[in-house]
Each structure stands twice: as structure tokens, then as C-alpha cells.
Subunit: 423 residues, 2 copies
């Protein structure tokens, strides 16, 4: 089967510091690939396909495309539009194929997490049913690092490096001011998996170094243990720096951030307001009796290209590039994976995993990466993540002293099919 | 008057990304200065003097001292211990002189804000009264940029650059996901003055660019105007990125984020602020009716040496160095200032201001730096701050991929005077 036609690339889900590098890998490789004629982008992921909001990447400045390698967030636009099963969301899938047909699109590169891989997988089934020749390739992306079938995910190394650096820096603040600001809680992303929180362990090079305590969603959280941990560290060091994954919970579905059940009230019966960081701050102040501050970098943490990992950035580019190379060879229905090679020096190659397997999998932090106490990590975790945080990304700086990031002009393709009726 | 003897350097108040550069300037210049014999540091500011917790900088590794130029927070330790008037806190001031006499300390370099300059000033008065030859020099430090008598303060350019970069990066996240996460509120430091918030205006290069709205403590805040502003921006762009200074208030002393309870005030009696971002997020969700996220980088923002301003770093070093040079010439009772020279190209020299004047002054953002609407800044503000954010600081990276920061061994001087009786 030899397919020739236009390609479309789209980004989905939460942005990362390096998801644009993956887009860059797809785009620059597609430009060089004979069987790919036009190179298009869907604005805001699959929503852009449904809305026929598609722009022509060949009309963008090549410098802006190159600039994707040093620009955070999703320059093509992203979305959180989840398509359900082929039966339930058939109209949407049909609509996607209608738009693909209208624009002679035979290659679809979807950069995203497991929901996106699910969408891509189902679309490839429908295309086959309806005999529209379509190559579908997935490109992995998630800061959460919880995708199955791959050693790690592009986006993770950068959020790990950036957050760990912030933990070191803010940790030095707590250290310098321990006579006054005695403790700090830093909340990091990771709803179901604690990979980001666990990576902060690299910053804990010595007992002095923050973070002193790390809590992950994988280990049931109890206020009693937390307070005991804090008291112990405070006694030893005179200060405490805590990392809390946003998804920490009691192991029975009650999330600390949800303020329900177990965590709804402090020991005085006061309702705890706010997210994880605020809740733990409140617990430290009332139960340990020392002052606490908190840090919640929110979406800033996943977009920190100004101090990203070069290794992560380069791998993000590579998985995009490889997706196109495999597509050109006729491969379809797979996501490009990262395979770590054995040996003392870190070496990583790409592989392939069926979209369906990725869609249905989830990878949590293994128990052996977490210490016995459940409040820190082991050397195995450090050895896993440190190679992913190596090197820096060079940023382009404008005369005003701040970075310059790519923004596309978005020359839209003319709309060829009537508006979709369904959302 | 020719003084010869030991010197002591101390850091006070909230740390910054470059306060260690000022310490480095003091230390390295003191090493080269003939009339200065021993070079000591007080651990945790004036508390270290009161507790006779003093370490010998000549016994520290010179590489660690050089590393101060690329290390955040206060490596000497800091404090928020405020000394009151000479009458009220006489025992403390006497105790400081007692310790100085015991260790033949004739030079005192205090790196801090206006409270520290006040302490330094009063100490110099008492030393004169008691005929202890003492040179007292202040070295300016505050991210808040609110010190009187100086064009700007070391620490400000770096927090401005780092926060503005984060606002750009997180702003791109809101832009990419505007179909889902429609608005973001980012809270930045600045209790009484909105200099940090105002600097974020540099990131707003075009109407598209975050931040779209900036609120400063200088302009009375009303929920009605805020909601109207948000609705307008949302209508125009489909998304909103807001910067809020932590000290925004209604103009009548009511802070948006006033906390109550045990930790409501710090030991200087300042009201502790926090919760502005959460409050505004709540207002946007209920009054504008769109989803809001928030970012609160807390102490991380003031320690961001990993993306600090080189200009700021170099000026921080310079004011430390100059303080020693002036001291060696017999100057006492002054703080080193930064004087911006007129002309198209930014040029800055140092000057001197009496400690007393600095202690009693405060500099807010002038009205002409704020736009008419009170929700953004003018070109005058951009022209003021952009030169302070120029250049990057090179960081030393360890094999684990994270930065290496200085931590002193702290070889303490033998204690020579009985413990102080007062706190």
C-alpha cells in the first residue's frame, strides 16, 4: 500500500514545555517526506478538525517553525475534547473523516496522552471500515509520565528539572529564614501518578537539602503520619520543606484536595479551604504549631522551557520525527515509544506500541521507587529520572530581556464541508 | 580617622536571587582591603550577632564564595528580627556592641531593606555615643523595589524577569487551552508597592500576550471594576490572564487577602498576605462564569537565580563591593544607592544615601507608570524596568542535571561573651 496525500498534525491535552518540539519534529520531517504533500495543523486538537479550523503550515515562517523547539505550550492550540466509543461518538468520528476527505488528508499525527491515543485508535478503525486510506500515528506527550508502553514521556524530564530546581531554590529560602518561615509546602502536578513529585527526590542530595518529605498519590495519605513526619524533620533540622503531589489521597478515593470526608476539617473542626498545598499548610500550622508557606506553580510548571531539559527536548523532537518516518513506510495505528537501553550510560531509542495498548494503560510509580516510610524516594527513582533532566535548552531573548516564543499566523484552509451538527 | 579591624557582614529580611552576589561583593572586596583584617559573617542577620553565632569567612572555600554569584537565597542565613528604637531595644543594641568589641569588629555591612537600614543607623548612633570606632554601611536589597533614595533595588530586576517569563509561559498555556481553561490568575509578591506586578507589563507585547490585566496595591481594587475588566477581555480574546499584586486592597486598608488567626502578622507586625489568587479565581468563576486557575509561586519567585537578570546580579555585586570601598575610606552611616544616568542607553552608577533617610522612606509605583484604567502599565514603566532585566546568569550544573548552590561550612568563632539575657 503506497499512500500519498496531505498530513495533519494536532496537539491535545495539557501543554508541556516540549510538546512544540514534537510538533516541530513532525512538521520538519513532513516537509522532507515525498509521500506527504501538504502539511496542515488542526487548531486546538481534534476540535480544529471537527470545526474545520485548519491552517497551512507551509505558509508559516520557517523561523517560527524552528522556534517551536524553544517555545512552551501548544502552539497549534490544544483541547480537552474527549471522543467516546465509536458507537457513542460516531457522528464526530464520521465528521473527522469527512473533513479529511475534503482536504485529501491521508496522514494524521496526534500528539497527546492516552485519551488522544484512544481517539486516534478509533479513528483508524473507522477509516479502515470506510475504506479511506489513512495513516494514524501517535506521538507521546504528558508531564505526568503515566503512559503505558514507553520508558518515559516527553514533557516529563522538563517539568521534573524545572520543579526540582524551584524546590532547591525555595528550599534555600526556608533554610535561610528558618527562624521565621519555618516550613514550606510545594504542590506539584500529577493527579493519579506521582512521577513529578517523586522526581523532586533528586534535589534532596543531603539531609539538609529540600525537599525533606515527598508525598505521592500511590501511597495512602494520613494526617497522623504526615504530622509525625513533619515533627520529626522539624526536630532534626528546624525547618521542613514538603512536596505534595496534587493527587494525594487516603487510598480509598478521598483526595486531600477535595476537602471531603477525612480531610474536610482540622483538629479544631475548622473546614479546610483550598487545594492540597493550602490544606497541608493548615495542618502544619495547627498540628505542628509552626508557620507554613506554600507554593503552587500551577500551569507555569509544565511550560518552563526557560529551564527545560535538553534531553527531554531532543527526545520530544525525535518522537515527532520518527512518527513521520514510520508513517512514510506505511506503519499505522502505533504510538512512537522511548526505549531505554541497558548500560551504565543513558541511551534511548524509539520503538512502537499499538495505540490501543497505550489507550488502555496507565503507569504508576512502582513501590520500589518509593522509600519504606512512603515519604520519599529510593536511589532507583533517582537513577531513573536524573538522566531525563540533563542539559539546558537555549532560549532566544528579545531586546526587552524576555524570551521570544513562536506564535503562528494561522492561514486557514478554505472551509469545504458544511458545519458539523453535533459537538 | 583611620580604622583597622575585623568586619562582619550579615543578610536580613526576605532572600532574593542575588542577595548572595551582594555578600560576594562585600566578602571579596574585604579580602582585598588592607584596613580590614578578619572577614566574618553573622549567621541569620542581626540574630547571629545577638547570639554570638558568627563564622569565619576566611575559612570557607574560595570556590564556594565565588559560587555566591550563582546561588539564590541568603547563604549567610537571614532573619526578620526587628530592633525598635534605641530606648526600647537598648539592651539589644548594647549587646551587639559588646559582641563587636569582643571580636574587634569595626566594620558592619548590613544587606537588607529599610528595617535593616534602620537597625544599622541606630547602631551607628550608639557606637558613636559609646566611642566604639565603627563603620556602618548599608547594602540595598529588596525584590519589592520600594527603597527610597535609589533608582531601583538589587533583587528586583531578577524577580521581574523570572515572573514575567513565567507569565509568558503560563499565558501561552491559557492561550492553547482557552476552550477549556479559560482564565488564569497569577499572584506576585509586593505588599505595599506594586513594582513586581507592574513589571509583568513587559510581557504584554501585543494585545494577545499575557498578562491582559494587572492590579497593583497603588490603585484601589473593586470587585465591580475587576469583573467588568475580565468580561471585556474575555469578550475580546476568549481568555484572560490576570496578574495580581499580593497587596491589592480597597484603598482603605482592607486587603483582598487578609488572613486571620495565629499567623496573621509577622514579627515586624506586618500583615501576612496570601490568598489573593484564590479569591480572584473565585470571583471570576462566580461573576464572569468561566473556569479559572491560579498560580502562586510564593518564595520560589524571589529565588529564581536559574533565570535571573545578569544586570541585576552584577549591580548586586557592585553595591556590596562599593560599600567596602567607601568603608575603607572612612565613610559611615550610608547605604550604597544605584543612580541611573540619563541617555538612551541604560547606564547605572552608585551613590550614597544616609541610612536614616532610607529607613524612613518608601517608594511606590508612580501614577504615570500605571494606565488610566488602573489595570495595566504605561510605556514609562516598561522603559523603567526592561533595562533591569537584561542578560542571563550562568548556573553551575551538577551531574544529576540540577544546579549547584553554595552552602557554607560555618566555622564559628569561639564565643567570648556571656549569652545575652534579652531576645
Amino acid at each position: 500500500m503506497s499512500i500519498k496525500g496531505n498530513c495533519i498534525v494536532a496537539q491535545s491535552g495539557g501543554p508541556t514545555a516540549v510538546i512544540n518540539s514534537s510538533a516541530c519534529g513532525v512538521i520538519q520531517e513532513a516537509f522532507k517526506t515525498d509521500c506527504i504533500t501538504g502539511v496542515f495543523a488542526a487548531h486546538n486538537g481534534v476540535l480544529g478538525v471537527l470545526d474545520e479550523d485548519i491552517f497551512d503550515l507551509t505558509r508559516e515562517d520557517t523561523e517560527q517553525i524552528e522556534g517551536l523547539k524553544r517555545s512552551p505550550s501548544s502552539a497549534l492550540g490544544s483541547c480537552r475534547h474527549k471522543l467516546k466509543s465509536l458507537d457513542q461518538s460516531r457522528a464526530d468520528y464520521e465528521r473527522i473523516l469527512e473533513v479529511f476527505r475534503a482536504h485529501d488528508i491521508h496522514f494524521f499525527f496526534y500528539i497527546g496522552g492516552n485519551d488522544s491515543m484512544d481517539t486516534a485508535h478509533k479513528l483508524s478503525i473507522l477509516a479502515k471500515e470506510e475504506a479511506w486510506p489513512l495513516i494514524v500515528m501517535g506521538v507521546p506527550k504528558t508531564i505526568d509520565n503515566d503512559l503505558a508502553c514507553t520508558d518515559h514521556c516527553p514533557g516529563y524530564g522538563s517539568v521534573a528539572k524545572y520543579n526540582a530546581t524551584i524546590a532547591m531554590e525555595a528550599g534555600r529560602d526556608t533554610e535561610a529564614l528558618y527562624t521565621h518561615d519555618t516550613s514550606t509546602v510545594m504542590e506539584v502536578m500529577g493527579r493519579n501518578a506521582g512521577w513529578i513529585a517523586a522526581a523532586m527526590g533528586v534535589a534532596h542530595r543531603s539531609p539538609e537539602d529540600a525537599p525533606h518529605l515527598i508525598y505521592l498519590p500511590e501511597i495512602p495519605f494520613t494526617v497522623e503520619k504526615f504530622v509525625a513526619d513533619c515533627k520529626k524533620v522539624h526536630k532534626e533540622l528546624g525547618r521542613i520543606f514538603v512536596i505534595a503531589g496534587e493527587g494525594i489521597n487516603d487510598g480509598e478515593g478521598n483526595y486531600v484536595a477535595e476537602q471531603k470526608g477525612t480531610f474536610a476539617k482540622d483538629s479544631f473542626g475548622h473546614t479546610q479551604l483550598g487545594g492540597v498545598a493550602e490544606t497541608l499548610k493548615g495542618i502544619i500550622e495547627s498540628e505542628v504549631g509552626i508557620k507554613a508557606r506554600y507554593i503552587k506553580c500551577g500551569t507555569a510548571q509544565r511550560n518552563g522551557i526557560h529551564f527545560a531539559s535538553r534531553t527531554d527536548r531532543d527526545e520530544a523532537y525525535l518522537v515527532g520525527q520518527k512518527a513521520v518516518q514510520h508513517a512514510a513506510e506505511g506503519t499505522t495505528g502505533f504510538m512512537v515509544t522511548l526505549e531505554r537501553k541497558s548500560g551504565k550510560l543513558y541511551r534511548c531509542e524509539t520503538g512502537l506500541a499499538p495505540l490501543e495498548e497505550v489507550a488502555n494503560g496507565e503507569k504508576k510509580v512502582p513501590r520500589e521507587f518509593i522509600n519504606d516510610e512512603g515519604n520519599g524516594v529510593t536511589q532507583a527513582m533517582i537513577d531513573y529520572v536524573a538522566p531525563l533532566m540533563q542539559g539546558e535548552v537555549e532560549i532566544k531573548i528579545a531586546p526587552d530581556g524576555l524570551p521570544e516564543y513562536t506564535r503562528f499566523e494561522r492561514h486557514n484552509l478554505p472551509q469545504k464541508c458544511p458545519k458539523r451538527g453535533t459537538q
